[in-house]
Subunit: 343 residues, 2 copies
């Protein structure tokens, strides 16, 4: 591949001049500019970002670490972040941590070595030691946490209004007539999950329904495991729930499969609502009532904050906490008779 030196030689000017033409930072006479541009075209020259970055110590690249891109929520987040980055001429490197703390550590180190200028991080669910977190944060490179918010660590973060969103979903189920509502969660090591459970409790309390801890089903993010947990709970003796609320996409899949396996029909036998679109929610029969997170916006806003930090626009010492509202899409799975038949 041709270098700037080759271009200078062909154009008959100095490398400095070629550089000035490319970056546009210094005026160059029309005559020389034309010669340089012709040479660039003839040689099919592409400036070497590697060399440029070394000199300027700016890579104009951001990194984003997500648990798993095959979970539909995350690609939307990434696209949002990508759009915000592109607006400012930055690129985005997306990688998967598989919710593994060790892998997350490797990736942080890798991105650091690649000299990305900032990192968007969805913390791995496998408990990330506090020590590691603090190390990430005083890494002298800006980090914004997305979706999942670390405990007790001051850091910029963007996520949904977990508590409100969960309360909205559960209140809707109550409004539709459900009274014994179970909640199936992801790992409760995650603060978000705990906040969603809190929203669930708030909704019950406002409706004067006692909270039954036996209806809080804590799980993980593997649909198969969640499915097993739900099957067990649903087939137990005693009164089962008349509705289930799920706190994210993977657990929703687990819960729905458990319903199927237990021969429960929705909403006839059991009402259902969940966080996060399953991409085809509207096509399900019945269609699924969903608390929709503004995934694209979460990515977009987080990247904006990160870029503001990088470019020194956001100079606040304290961390920025942004919580975006969710919206409720009411569909068939929550269509329960008022004053439910289940008593």
């Amino acid at each position: 591949m041709p270098s700037i030196k080759k271009v200078a030689e062909v154009a008959g000017v100095s490398v400095g001049t070629v550089s000035h033409v490319i970056t546009g930072s210094v005026n160059v006479s029309e005559a020389l500019r034309a010669k340089v541009q012709a040479a660039i075209r003839d040689l099919n020259y592409h400036p070497n970002h590697v060399a440029r970055s070394l000199k300027t110590s700016k890579t104009r690249t951001l990194g984003i670490i997500v648990p798993d891109m095959t979970i539909p929520f995350f690609p939307q987040v990434i696209r949002g972040a990508e759009a915000a980055a592109r607006d400012k001429g930055y690129s985005l490197i997306a990688v998967n941590s598989d919710d593994d703390g060790e892998r997350q550590k490797e990736l942080l180190s890798l991105l650091r070595s690649q000299r990305v200028e900032g990192i968007l991080l969805v913390i791995a669910a496998a408990p990330t030691p506090l020590s590691q977190l603090t190390k990430i944060l005083d890494a002298s490179i800006p980090v914004v946490c997305l979706d999942r918010i670390p405990d007790r660590v001051p850091v910029d973060s963007v996520s949904v209004e977990d508590t409100d969103a969960a309360e909205m979903g559960v209140s809707h189920l109550i409004h539709m007539g459900a009274r014994r509502i179970a909640i199936v969660t992801g790992p409760i090591t995650l603060k978000n999950e705990r906040r969603r459970v809190q929203g669930y409790k708030q909704a019950l309390q406002k409706a004067k329904i006692p909270v039954d801890d036996g209806l809080i089903w804590a799980g993980n993010l593997r649909p198969e495991d969640v499915s097993a947990i739900c099957r067990e709970k649903l087939s137990g003796t005693g009164r089962g729930p008349d509705a289930v609320f799920s706190t994210n996409g993977p657990t929703a899949l687990g819960a729905l499969r458990a319903f199927r396996d237990c021969g429960l029909q929705t909403p006839r036998d059991i009402a259902f609502a969940t966080f996060d679109e399953l991409t085809v929610d509207d096509l399900f029969t019945p269609s699924i009532t969903t608390v929709v997170q503004p995934a694209y916006d979460i990515g977009f806003r987080a990247a904006q904050i990160l870029l503001d930090r990088i470019e020194g626009v956001a100079t606040e010492r304290e961390s920025i906490t942004l919580r975006l509202p969710a919206t409720l899409k009411v569909r068939e799975s929550s269509r329960v008779l008022r004053a439910s038949a289940r008593l």
Copy 2:
């Protein structure tokens, strides 16, 4: 951030020695090695890949251009490619072209400037001029095409056995009793789509069913558009189809929404099968019969071929063409009575 020079200073050795410890390319005495490693730890030093790449002109990075990561097929491909890359110590940069030829061009240029060592490319559906394609390919950097195969251009490629896979799906519908089978496709500018149509025709011919061009519904990749096309065709006068086969995920969504809008139930009123899992196919009521592509493997194998080219293992002059078989998941949507009632 500390540089290798700082490490050398702290460890009391030369930068050369530090470099040798890091790369392991030259023997270093145990005593010095220990001092260097201590210094690295103390300083929290991360080697600067930018400088290393400049010197070695190796970035150990691959790029992958997909149309849109929010289509569930692509994240799986990316994860496959990521795994193959990681096996050899490479990283992967994933970007979205939005099926836009212009954007694709920009991205290729960007990746080139970033000096990725090879590119995995899912060609944009918006017709890519032949001139641009050839330019990509003699780019002096290896390219492997995935999923979508360009016409008339010799290039390494990995994709599914389109024709066989489509024939398998359509034959299954025939076997289940369908006789008037419509096919709804993506943009027929794509060779793959044309091959899938060919598979459809082969299945019909083998069953001695005449091909009716009025049942070949060519569309695009926007579910809304496909939906509109299907609604129009389905509500037309005359005998409608008794089954529909869809050639990819986005068109499947469009078709299913059209069924819903036209009040058609599956499989009672119309049988259905499609290429590509909709992530929750098994949960649909009815569940959807699907021709499943080995998405992860497509990404994995493509990245392997690319890496072989980069590392000079694959030295064939001719291009490598790899076609992987699909598998058929039979589910409820294709459960049609033999000797169908629709006459």
